[in-house]
């Protein structure tokens, strides 16, 4: 009889093995603190938090949401040339608009961002921000094991800080509110006044105010000064139109970060226009101008060019880049890929 009782034990075990109920998977350990608490408790976000409080946007962020908040940390404010004092001095209405541009009224975690460059998300300011993530492929050399995310060409330093009513991505720079058009952005920036003058003289100015897609590589005044070119001298009487046409990349829009996120094929040095090849070297992060017959130059390792197709001027790096506008993007240049001598009309 004692032995029989022992039989019951495996029987019970077997019966319990038969139950095939779905296993309760523990919920992901998310953070259910509200966004505001995270901003408040994180010293590194103190400037953003103070600004949010001053503009009354804390009422919005207290809401159910969900929100995606693009938070420039304190270092990002400093990098963008904004101190606590200058932030306090900003007028509340424009600060509120800037902050609204950092809030997207939906939850977008890193994994939810489509694998594309320049994917728009509407913000509370009514204007879109554009996300960019690395496009996988044989040309991609960024480390894809970490979450690389760019917003309007600004790197995200930390993705997916989860909150109860949304998610925070920490930015490494403050986003800039986009200008209405490329024309508007160039006009407002006094360092491009020579370039603006030249665009007007050569009849290229009007198109930059109209709908379309442009990426403008804007040379600053001091670059022209280096070559002894004056503002008044930039006109069709002294220079051919090729003095300015290479700087407008028509029909394409790309942030400086897209050069690494979505690099061009090695076989394709750049974008072909009817007059030039606008070269974009994605690894050196440079912009240049080649003639259309560049293959004849690169194939010939001898005089006069010794295989170097930069016959108009050197490749220039992008500086002061990623000024988003309603119809394109303005980047600055470190040098003139079209040297004034290459376009001068000889008397």
């Amino acid at each position: 009889m004692k032995l029989n009782k022992l039989y019951i034990l495996p029987l019970l075990l077997l019966i319990s093995a038969c139950v095939k109920e779905p296993v309760d998977v523990p919920q992901e350990n998310g953070d259910d603190r509200p966004l505001l608490t995270i901003l408040k408790n994180n010293y590194n976000f103190s400037m953003f938090y103070n600004a949010v409080q001053r503009t009354g946007l804390d009422k919005t962020l207290e809401g159910k949401g969900p929100f995606t908040v693009l938070v420039p940390d304190n270092t990002a404010f400093t990098t963008s040339g904004i101190t606590a004092d200058s932030l306090a001095a900003m007028d509340t209405a424009s600060l509120a608009k800037l902050l609204r541009y950092h809030i997207i009224p939906e939850q977008i975690r890193y994994a939810a961002v489509p694998q594309a460059i320049d994917f728009p998300y509407e913000t509370l300011a009514g204007l879109p921000v554009y996300t960019g993530v690395p496009i996988p492929g044989p040309r991609q050399f960024q480390n894809l094991t970490i979450n690389i995310l760019h917003i309007n060409g600004v790197s995200v330093s930390k993705t997916d800080i989860l909150a109860g009513n949304g998610v925070i991505h920490a930015l490494s720079r403050v986003l800039r509110l986009p200008a209405a058009s490329v024309q508007d952005a160039l006009d407002k920036d006094p360092q491009y006044s020579y370039f603006v003058h030249a665009l007007k003289e050569f009849g290229l100015w009007d198109q930059l105010g109209k709908p379309g897609v442009f990426t403008v590589m804007a040379p600053a005044n001091q670059l022209f000064d280096q070559y002894g070119v004056t503002e008044a001298g930039l006109d069709p009487a002294h220079y051919r139109k090729m003095m300015v046409t290479p700087y407008i990349v028509n029909g394409h829009r790309f942030f400086s970060t897209d050069l690494l996120d979505a690099p061009l094929d090695n076989a394709q040095p750049g974008i072909l226009t009817p007059e030039f090849l606008q070269t974009i070297n994605c690894y050196n992060q440079t912009f240049g101008v080649w003639p259309l017959y560049y293959k004849q130059i690169t194939d010939l390792v001898g005089p006069p060019y010794w295989g170097d197709p930069y016959i108009y001027g050197p490749a220039a790096s992008l500086v002061n880049s990623d000024h988003l506008t309603g119809n394109g993007i303005v980047h600055g240049l470190s040098d003139l890929p079209m040297r004034p001598d290459s376009a001068r009309i000889n008397p």
């Binding site: 009889m1 077997l14 019966i15 977008i108 694998q115 996988p136 394409h252 750049g270």
Partner: protein, 421 residues
Amino acid sequence: MKRYISILFAGLCMAAWSGCKKYEIEPLVKDPAYIRVFNDLTSTTDLAHGQQVTPFLTFLMDPETDAAGIPVDAAVVGDFLGTRQLFSLSYAANEANSSVGNNTTGGPLPHPDPPNLTPIKYEYPGNAHVLTAPVINGFDLSAWAQVPSGKHRIMFVIRPQNGIVFTDLSSSIRSGILLDTTITLEKGEVYTLEVVSRDLDNGKYGLYIRKEQFIHQPFDANKLYVGFVNLSGERTEDAKNGFVKVFPDKIKITASYFRYNDPASGLGGNVFYTPVPGYNNTYLTTLSTRMDTTISYHPLPMLPQSDFFFQGLLRTYVNVMTPEPSKQGTLPYFKFQYLDADVPAPDASTGSVFLTNCSADPVVYNNYNPLTTSVRSYAPNLNLVVNNKGAYHVYPTVNIMEIVYDRVFMMQIARGFEQLP
């Protein structure tokens, strides 16, 4: 006492019986049709080609959509569908292997490609656990999945290359629908579905459906067959400008059959192939239209078994990675040349033409990266070598060569496997 034991025994039996049914068995498909799905997109988006998409898709058949029309789930989901491999068989061998991204051979020197740690499938069904097609007309078609015949809504969604399954993706990603169409599948028919680029410059894509005729056609048991089809879209501006080299619009195809010349080569000396008489750059066909849904199969000779062996040993495949000139193996192989039908001459500047040397080893062929190695000039041998019970036997095959812009996707349909060597 005895009664207790019998009760215990009955209880034990009941427990064991109810414990048996752990998994549900997939119900049989009534009136099935058979489908195989490929992603033929060979280029991706970059800063100059924002209109193009990343070639990583989810295939949905009969999708369920939410109120906004965004697909949520589907009756058939083929997730993580990357660009297809250059070579595919008619049965699911090595279907989990990879060619782009995951390989360790042929990456840019000195480092191989970074490993791709996320899932990637090269076709549907591939290695998915679904019911597959039976043997039809003597062909092993286990790479085709059973689906109910009739009308079906087909959808392809652009998805990021990560490890998140389709149903967990965000709605903004799931709303990135590349194709949405309805097709009708006939009972018992074999279909190959391929996502193709119709016009890359304007970001237009389409679905190419081929109702396979080889299941209805008679094939000579002792002949190789090869058919060609051009699945390229419109010629791109990049191709016109010479940034990328693509197949011509009208393709004239010639065939050569090479046999290793043992006496002339000095056995291991300089490699020396001679063409089989009648197959030295012999005109085969001209493809003047794109996206043809019928394929004409050209019969090619099958050499006697002895030609595949030398002194009792199987001859060797080419090693694609070995530098010239010792690149060739010793097995007989076909070479197909693709010339521009309007200008039938080699490229003026380089003297080269598109060609396919069908001389590679099918087992390792897909491991080479088509973008960084010369593997696109090669294809696996048309003669299928099978080892059975320690002996090699060479079988004829039916081959479909699908030309997409700059490469040839080869689909080899095995036959004659029911014959004993």
